[in-house]
């Protein structure tokens, strides 16, 4: 069975790499991008099943990346990661609350549950 591919885009390298190792131990194929500017080229190259996207990053914000992902890679499932979700903020006319999201610090069981649900909806 093909492993689910997950890309983590987060400028907090220590956080992202540790989360990636934990997901790897749980059978996911993980990739980490810590420079937001690299996110879109890497998405195009790897085409992950799931994108874990931090919202607050230097240079290009997670919101901008999310907007591009919706337009360029609509098949990629996105889970937002944030310390504080602004529920009224919208991306492409859709409130952030409408997306799957986890609040940092991330509870791994909650994240796994959301990823499994996305994977099942994809299958």
């Amino acid at each position: 069975m093909k492993k689910t591919t997950v890309m983590i885009v987060d400028d907090e390298a220590d956080f992202a790499s540790t989360l990636a190792e934990r997901l790897c131990l749980r059978g996911y194929d993980t990739h980490v991008v810590t420079a937001p500017a690299d996110a879109l080229p890497m998405l195009a190259e790897i085409k992950p099943d799931i994108l874990l996207l931090d919202l607050r990053m230097p240079g290009i914000s997670g919101h901008e990346i999310l907007l591009d992902v919706r337009q360029l890679f609509p098949e990629i499932k996105v889970i937002l990661m944030t310390g504080d979700l602004d529920r009224e903020q919208t991306v492409d006319g859709v409130t952030l609350e409408s997306f799957q999201y986890v609040i940092k610090p991330v509870e791994i069981k909650e994240l796994m549950g959301k990823m499994d649900a996305l994977r099942e909806s994809h299958d």
Partner: protein, 225 residues
């Protein structure tokens, strides 16, 4: 040392609103930074559990992983402790009247926030702060004023630039300047100051804000009363 300067007791509601806004911003920055450390610590702790429970990892590898995890946790904890201490220093001064304060200490407390604000806009910061720069003003409004000036400056700088925070003093004055390390001659004429005008807030502290003609630097001057 600079003599104490008076604080207007009839500060306008505009200044109060601005102080609240900047204060909220400072708190949000602090919470965000601490939350980043907590998020990483939770991942490290969970990873330690995962490693210990993993059957495919040898004992030697587990020991190596655990050593790395502990080192990394210690580093994040030290960072969080420094943030809390700095923020506590800021908080303690919130209600203070004008007191003689070490400008360097204030700027040290703000440095992690400067770095974060700058990093979000792909800028870097260089602190060139003298150890002996003493000023006498209400510390908390001054901290807020400095933070607001810094944010203004960042929002009008270009990616890759280095912002310098510099203090200077002579027998009469202490000054604090924010400027871009390498001036952009081409932009100088077309870059008027566009940030929030903080002159009124500074005025209540008895401080003058001096914007350079090209908008590429801003200084606070603490003169003798």
């Amino acid at each position: 040392m600079i003599e104490p300067l008076g604080m207007s007791t009839s500060g306008s509601s505009m200044n109060t609103d601005m102080l609240w806004r900047i204060s909220g911003r400072l708190t949000a920055l602090f919470v965000h930074e601490i939350n980043n450390d907590l998020a990483t610590l939770r991942e490290k702790s969970g990873f330690a559990d995962d490693v210990l429970a993993a059957r495919k990892i040898s004992d030697a590898e587990k020991m190596k992983h655990m050593g790395e995890i502990i080192d990394s946790c210690e580093s994040r904890l030290n960072r969080a402790v420094a943030l809390v201490r700095n923020f506590s220093h800021i908080g303690k001064n919130m209600g203070s009247d004008a007191v003689v304060s070490d400008l360097r200490g204030m700027l040290t407390a703000l440095t992690p926030f400067f770095e974060k604000i700058a990093r979000l806009q792909l800028l870097t910061v260089r602190m060139a702060v003298r150890q002996t720069a003493l000023v006498a003003v209400r510390p908390y409004p001054l901290l807020c004023l400095i933070l607001a000036l810094f944010e203004n400056h960042c929002s009008h700088s270009m990616s890759g630039e280095c912002l310098v925070v510099e203090t200077k003093e002579d027998s009469m004055t202490v000054s604090l300047s924010l400027f871009v390390r390498q001036k952009r001659e081409s932009d100088k004429e077309s870059w008027p100051w566009q940030g929030t005008d903080l002159s009124a807030l500074a005025g209540t502290l008895g401080i003058s804000v001096i914007y350079s003609e090209g908008g590429d630097s801003v200084s606070l001057s603490f003169g003798r009363s």
